[in-house]
């Protein structure tokens, strides 16, 4: 639904739906912290940013015409993807299913404490580099959005 809607707002709402469903899968996988992060950051912040941009640009309906359906091209790609994904899916399904083992300590797995301990001990450098990346992105966005003339 994200790819088939013509209106970007409908696409964004469908994407929110997809992200929420993925968050539900994360909860099923005992990744409660990641599920919360998914809903807060993806479905909250990123989608608000998308919708804000769509509203901000104030696109008229006539300007979306360029994205008209090029039916033969789309159908070709669609069948190609269905064929490729279906091939691999049938391969995977025909092999014996891998089932998750029982968790060693189900109380602790995927909690904030568990992820945080790993994040601030083994991956401390990566964490700090991520913060540097976010600062760079913020400054870059300000420079790009400000424009050259001002």
């Amino acid at each position: 639904m994200v790819v088939s809607h013509k209106n970007p707002v409908s696409s964004a709402i469908s994407l929110v739906l997809t992200l929420f469903s993925t968050a539900v899968l994360f909860v099923l996988l005992h990744a409660h912290f990641i599920a919360a992060i998914q809903i807060l950051i993806y479905a909250g912040a990123i989608m608000v940013l998308f919708l804000f941009t769509v509203m901000f640009l104030n696109i008229r309906d006539s300007e979306l015409r360029f994205d008209s359906m090029n039916i033969p091209k789309r159908m070709t790609f669609l069948f190609l993807f269905i064929a490729v994904v279906g091939f691999f899916a049938s391969k995977l399904f025909s092999s014996s299913p891998v089932v998750f083992s029982e968790l060693r300590d189900p109380e602790n797995f995927g909690t904030v404490a568990d992820v945080g301990r790993s994040l601030f001990s083994d991956y401390l450098l990566a964490f700090e580099l991520t913060s540097v990346l976010v600062v760079i992105a913020m400054v870059g966005v300000l420079v790009i959005a400000k424009g050259r003339e001002s």
Binding site: V85, S118, A145
Partner: protein, 101 residues
Amino acid sequence: MEIPVTHYVVLASVLFAIGVYGVITRKNILIVLMCLELMLNSCNLLFVVFSRLYEGATGHVFVLMSVTVAAAEVAVGLAFVVSIYRQKESLDIDLLKLLRG
């Protein structure tokens, strides 16, 4: 009751394929960015699945990083969209041929 790993893997690949399909066929730059998000999200799903399979917190840390990178990428991408729209008055990616030789 428990869902096998293969189902998760197939779901993630289908999500990724939908994202690739959108990136290739759509011309609206906003929707192309959304499809990029979809692809990143399917990779996150795979990370969490294999983290659950091998019972370590490493996959969760990776997902945290990739969510942060995705947020930064979307912010920069949308700033580009705004500045492109100011210049071209359109969201058509076929108009962006400034680098064509």
